[in-house]
Amino acid sequence: MKVGLFVTCLVDLVRPNIGFATLKLLEDAGCEVIVPATQTCCGQPGYNSGAREISQRLARKVLAEFKDCDYVVAPSGSCSGQVKIHYVQDLFRNAAESERIEFEKLSAKWFELSDFLVNVLKLTVLSSEFAAASFPGSITYHDSCAGLREINIKHQPRKLLARSGCNLIEMNDAEKCCGFGGTFSIKLGEISTRMADNKCVNIAVTGADAVIGGDLGCLMNIEGRLRRTGDAKTQVYHFAEVLAGMAK
């Protein structure tokens, strides 16, 4: 099974560890993972800023890079939503049929990491790996918006984390936006900060040792607010890092 890894631009730049954790999870499960060297970004920052043409160009680039894979996996619900939903339903909805079909195929074989592990690889392959990789403390889980509402990522990461022996304490409003929203976090920073603050309060109430999520953007936003408000102890990880035993 040839699985393309879409690293995401944020993971590439800021936290390669998440990329390697994803790679480990996939390879341990017996996937032949290929990582196209030319990949950059799915185009979402431009798309959501109104730069439609650039985002179409990037979508074509992504398609070309992953055309030959049986599956594509990304450790992000947000980028996955962009590819699975927005490429097809918006950016290439009115494209020539041949091109539209190519994007529909890409959409069908593209999976967010936890969704891929649970619903394509069916968990069992991975269970032995997880036994050794449990996170020592308690965790709480933040549902990222695009993953949750665009491609239904909700139980998959929880299932995997439970398998790996994590003690999950649900926070209030786990599904509420953390305020990241890509460029929103900079353009309307004050509102974004307040939303992050609300999230941090809900995290603190659980008393969990770590907050886990599936999108690095949200995690950076939450961690940034935690640290600014003097919380140096609550750890912030992508679920891939926890599952792969690479939370460090």
Binding site: T40, Y47, N48, S49, I54, R149, G182, L188, I191
Partner: protein, 463 residues
């Protein structure tokens, strides 16, 4: 950039923050509980969205059918292309009939066109009778929510307004304040020359206009005065009474978590010769004021809107800044679409950007309006028309240049990651960084690890 500055003030308004927190719980939990009592919510939503689309696709035909029916029942139908025209029509009706006093039930279209100001300028006394609207009329403030207009006010503020205007002892109990307002307004209901109401829908089958209320004020306004005037938008027409029944399974649940509102007030034409109550004249003013711009456009789904307010109730941005930050009568995600369309994209400023695209609005919308997609389309218009600040446009251009050129991008990322890691220092946090001060003014930026995934992966492959 009106929104950003006002939002900043609102974030630091303690009374407002308390009110918003209180409202959020009630609206969000109330809706969820009430929606859960229906076992085919999604099927009803789908049907409702389709029936709204069907009307909008042939809006002219349904409006003509409605007009014909309404006229046959004795109503006069007026058409207004603009806010000014709508006001002129209603002022003329008032003048022609020597109207001195008007009681009014809540109408967002009347807020849109600033009808009260026009009537007051013509020497007509207007009294809002919805409790929330009445409070705001005393306070001389616009509504901050389309369903709960005074949601931003504390009971202490309301108590003070009543002391100032009713000249009665200060009350502390909400039920007592409500009774006082009832008693003050009762005599006005009975004496008014003209009643003005909005319409949640108008029905083509029967020529009916209707209002959905809990207080009973719309019933007074449409029953007691000798003239009833309805002001509403042209998109409010629905084909049949059965369609109304369908929409009523959605609207009160989405708006306030009730399976039905206490009153549904359907009015069709004028009173019969033998009736002791009811208006002698009924005027229906159908307002365009920007709505036709949406017809056939890439944002036509917005015309489905049934004004329930669920999008704002669930919007994390609205929940933190309240309705006044949006600068016009329609707040929240629906306002972020309607205001730019009705008032002009040139003046929309940050509104289409006042969303993280979290998608909650779309999930709760009873008629499935893809609000994030519509806001994104407005962002595309802003981008194409160069309406966003130069710095932002430049940033997108630079970004677009690099992400399209993998080799250059790899190099830039390599340098950027190292540089940012270096700024991050030992605690691996960037406390301030020019260009992203929107972020760093309230949060640290977790610093990159120092090397990019692509270089580490390449190194691993060589080994």
């Amino acid at each position: 950039m009106f929104f950003k500055q006002t939002a900043s003030v609102k974030l630091n308004d303690a009374v407002l923050q308390k009110a918003l927190k209180n409202a959020k719980g009630k609206f969000v939990d109330g809706r969820a509980a009430s929606v859960a009592t229906i076992d085919n919510w999604e099927a009803i939503r789908t049907h409702a969205a389709a029936l709204r689309d069907r009307v909008i696709d042939s809006l002219d035909a349904y409006l003509i059918e409605f007009e014909q029916k309404a006229v046959s029942r004795g109503a006069v139908v007026h058409w207004a292309e603009t806010a000014d025209e709508a006001n002129a029509i209603i002022v003329k009706i008032a003048r022609d009939n020597s109207v001195k006093t008007v009681t009014k039930s809540k109408s967002m279209v009347s807020e849109e066109v600033a009808l009260n100001d026009a009537l007051e300028a013509a020497g007509v006394t207007v009294l809002e009778t919805d409790l929330g609207e009445y409070i705001l009329q005393l306070a001389k403030e616009p509504p901050s929510h389309i369903v709960a207009p005074a949601v931003h006010k504390s009971k202490e503020q309301v108590a003070q307004l009543f002391v100032d205007h009713h000249h009665t002892p200060r009350l502390t109990d909400i039920a007592a304040m409500t009774r006082e307002a009832r008693e003050v307004l009762r005599s006005h209901f009975l004496a008014a020359d003209m009643g003005i109401s909005g319409a949640n829908f108008v029905i083509a089958e029967t020529g009916t206009t209707l209002t959905v209320t809990n207080e009973g004020n719309a019933d007074m306004v449409t029953t007691i005065p000798r003239i009833h005037c309805v002001i509403t938008g042209i998109e409010k027409v629905i084909p049949t009474l059965d369609d109304f029944a369908t929409l009523m399974r959605l609207l009160p649940r989405s708006a306030i978590g009730q399976s039905i509102t206490n009153y549904l007030t359907l009015t069709t034409g004028i009173k019969a010769a033998d009736e002791q109550e009811g208006p002698e004249q009924m005027h229906i003013v159908l307002v365009d004021a920007g709505r036709t711009k949406l017809v056939g456009s890439e944002m036509s789904e917005m015309l489905r809107c049934i004004r329930c307010g669920a999008c704002m109730n669930h919007c994390p941005v609205y929940q933190n800044v309240g309705g006044h930050a949006y600068g016009w009568v329609y707040p929240g995600p629906m306002g972020s679409v309607l205001t730019p369309v009705y008032k002009g994209i040139e003046d929309a400023g940050d509104l289409p950007n006042a969303s993280t695209f979290c998608g909650e609005c779309q999930v709760v919308c009873p008629v499935k309006i893809p609000l994030p997609d519509l806001m994104r389309k407005l962002r595309e218009q802003q981008f194409d028309m160069k309406l966003r600040p130069a710095s932002e446009r430049w940033a997108i251009k630079v970004w677009g240049f690099f992400v399209s050129r993998p080799a250059l991008y790899a190099l830039a990322a390599r340098i950027g990651a190292r540089f940012a890691a270096w700024i991050g220092g030992r605690d691996r946090l960037i406390h301030t960084l020019p260009g992203i001060d929107g972020w760093t003014s309230g949060r640290d930026m977790p610093a990159p690890e120092g090397k990019t995934f692509r270089e580490l992966y390449a190194a691993r492959q060589i080994k």
